[in-house]
């Protein structure tokens, strides 16, 4: 199979960290842009945790007399058609984004890495079966796969996390499988086999930890993609149920009032973009820091 993610191949060549943690930190935090990304992610986490303290209003409190107000000192980003404070809803929306991002990437990384590990280590027919199944998943655009599975399961936030998780599995399985094939050649793996280690032990103790560094980069980059996909799904109407707040569905709610209250759509979408941008920048920064040869090329 000649097709594979080129970025994946770049990652595959990542050598183990040799110069230690300090070099890593120096390179990682050395560039202002990466620092900017890291600060945004940190802010996102803080806002999500302390949403109740930061939000000026209750995000679910309807005040119909105050409906569709444009931004003012009272409501910094205005109010939605039900008179709920837009800013407060954006603040609570961080929770949805972060939660779906983390859980769906967690599901994808766990199952993807397991499949890749088994396929790469056992090889042969197991490898063929698993990797062709991964190819099949890859033939369907992730957003469509997530949409179909999520709808079949019946919508709701937890089903969106599961379906998004399944849709994101392929990249992990492929990257892991490639990593395992390289690491498997190492002398310490042969040594472990000679000593009589069980397959499970060799896979988990000797191979797995040595495959991790490119996978960490992938997880970071994927968090951004998962948040973007969650926003897309909730824009389409899958995911959190009213009155819950999600950025994607807020953009959709505001769409109908575009002419009079454009901020209702603009603000939450901008948040999505900022957060995804931050995860992408930090992911790129991690890649550069873990593999000095790629520095500045991506």
């Amino acid at each position: 199979m000649v097709t594979s993610l080129p970025q994946t191949e770049d990652l595959l060549e990542a050598p183990p960290r040799t110069n230690g943690f300090r070099r890593f930190l120096r390179v990682f935090l050395g560039r202002k842009v990466v620092l900017f990304g890291a600060v945004i992610i940190l802010m996102l986490i803080i806002v999500a945790i302390f949403a109740a303290l930061i939000a000026p209003y209750d995000p679910y409190q309807q005040e119909l007399r105050e409906a569709l107000k444009n931004p003012s000192w009272k409501h910094l980003l205005g109010t939605d058609p039900l008179g709920r404070d837009e800013l407060s809803r954006i603040i609570y929306g961080t929770r949805t984004s972060l939660l779906v991002g983390i859980i769906s990437v967690g599901v994808a990384a766990f199952f993807g890495m397991m499949l890749g590990l088994i396929a790469g280590y056992l090889g042969g027919i197991t490898n063929t079966l698993i990797m062709r199944f991964i190819d099949a998943l890859m033939a369907i655009p992730p957003i469509m796969l997530a949409l179909a599975i999520g709808a079949a399961l019946g919508g709701g936030l937890s089903n969106v996390m599961i379906s998004l998780g399944i849709a994101l599995i392929p990249t992990y399985a492929r990257l892991m499988c490639g990593q395992v094939l390289t690491v498997k050649q190492a002398d310490y793996v042969t040594a472990a086999e000679v000593v009589g280690g069980s397959n499970l032990r060799i896979m988990l103790v000797h191979i797995f930890p040595n495959c991790l560094s490119p996978l960490i980069v992938l997880i970071t980059l994927n968090l951004g993609f998962a948040i973007l996909s969650e926003a897309a799904l909730s824009f389409l109407g899958l995911g959190i149920r009213p009155p819950g707040a999600a950025w994607g569905s807020m953009v959709n709610d505001g769409y109908r009032y575009l002419l009079t209250n454009p901020i209702l759509s603009f603000a939450p979408g901008l948040c999505v973009m900022l957060v995804v941008l931050a995860f992408n920048i930090v992911g790129d920064g991690l890649r550069d820091a873990l593999d000095p040869r790629l520095r500045g090329t991506l």
């Binding site: 062709r132 099949a136 369907i140 179909a148 599975i149 079949a152 953009v251 002419l259 603009f266 992408n280």
Partner: protein, 315 residues
């Protein structure tokens, strides 16, 4: 070469069979009774029984799958509950619309991204490079549906240059069609444009470090000849690989862009089917899209030989 193509063809067929298994199981992961879910709560018991029988859901799983699979091989995806028409016919009217948009978007993104990436790599560190890199990063992060709404707000509602949404066949009214297609095509092009730019920049940077580039320069070739003659063809290989993957992104993006701009293509069709629980349409869409994506990847693999004569297709 021929053996390679045959091998890849067999592989593609195998993958499509697995996709059909995934599409088939959609109906069976529905919690509770899929027939009741599809027909809604107002359906009578008789209606439910008829549909269950029509879909062979009262037969063993394997029999069901074999029947469904032989049907789709003949282009029969069943009958839509929502439209009361054959799914294949419905797809046939929507697929060309998505192709049309996707084709423009693909041309647009390829034509812009490769020169942008090359310039950015050659002038590394310059202001132009920074602008291109930042734009590419933004393009990877922007939610397409939001970009579409921004476009509608500024270019349709405020400036009035373009129609808000909709789609007219180019055979009916080419001028209106062009105006309607501009914004959706640009939105659809954003993701491929950004990622192809990043890829061509990075592979160009990789290539211009190589010895043969130094040789070309030291023998006195003009810089333009070095870049376009020696570097570009080598740098473009990973970009071509990515092009195959971008097709998947284009189809994925069509879900959002077609919904925002109210365009009757595959993407919006599938979204509507999903929310109306018309799972036969969803299955049909998945199969057709997977077929298109798989064939495109096959074409990309075969086209490698042109860009990289070292690839001999022996393994």
């Amino acid at each position: 070469m021929v053996t390679f193509i045959i091998r890849r063809l067999i592989q593609t067929v195998f993958v499509l069979i697995l996709v059909s298994l995934i599409a088939f199981s959609l109906l069976h992961i529905i919690p509770g009774d899929p027939v009741v879910t599809m027909l809604g709560t107002e359906a009578t018991q008789a209606q439910i029984d008829i549909l269950r029988h029509e879909l062979w859901l009262d037969r063993p799983l394997l029999v069901q799958y074999m029947r469904w699979f032989t049907n789709i091989l003949q282009g029969d995806f069943g009958k839509s509950i929502m439209y009361r028409e054959s799914v294949a016919g419905l797809i046939a009217t929507r697929l060309p619309v998505t192709f049309h948009l996707g084709f423009i978007a693909l041309i647009l993104s390829t034509l812009i991204s490769i020169p942008a990436g090359v310039i950015s790599a050659v002038r590394r560190g310059s202001l132009l490079d920074q602008v291109i890199t930042v734009s590419a990063n933004l393009g990877m992060a922007v939610p397409l549906f939001w970009l579409g709404i921004l476009g509608i707000y500024f270019f349709a509602l405020k400036l009035g240059w373009l129609p808000v949404q909709g789609y007219t066949s180019p055979f009916d009214n080419l001028w209106l069609n062009t105006k309607q297609v501009i914004m959706p095509a640009i939105c659809l092009a954003v993701v491929p444009l950004a990622s192809l730019t990043r890829q061509s920049r990075s592979s160009m940077l990789e290539v211009i470090r190589q010895d043969y580039i130094r040789t070309a320069r030291s023998k006195g070739l003009k810089e333009r000849a070095v870049i376009t003659g020696h570097a570009l063809k080598n740098a473009i290989i990973p970009v071509v690989t990515l092009l195959g993957i971008q097709l998947r992104n284009l189809v994925g993006g069509s879900v959002l862009v077609e919904t925002v701009f109210n365009i009757p293509g595959m993407g919006s069709f599938m979204v509507r089917a999903v929310f109306n629980k018309d799972f036969l349409i969803v299955q049909g869409c998945i199969m057709v899209i997977a077929l298109v994506v798989a064939l495109a990847n096959l074409a990309v693999d075969i086209s490698y030989g042109y860009f990289d004569p070292r690839i001999r297709y022996e393994d």
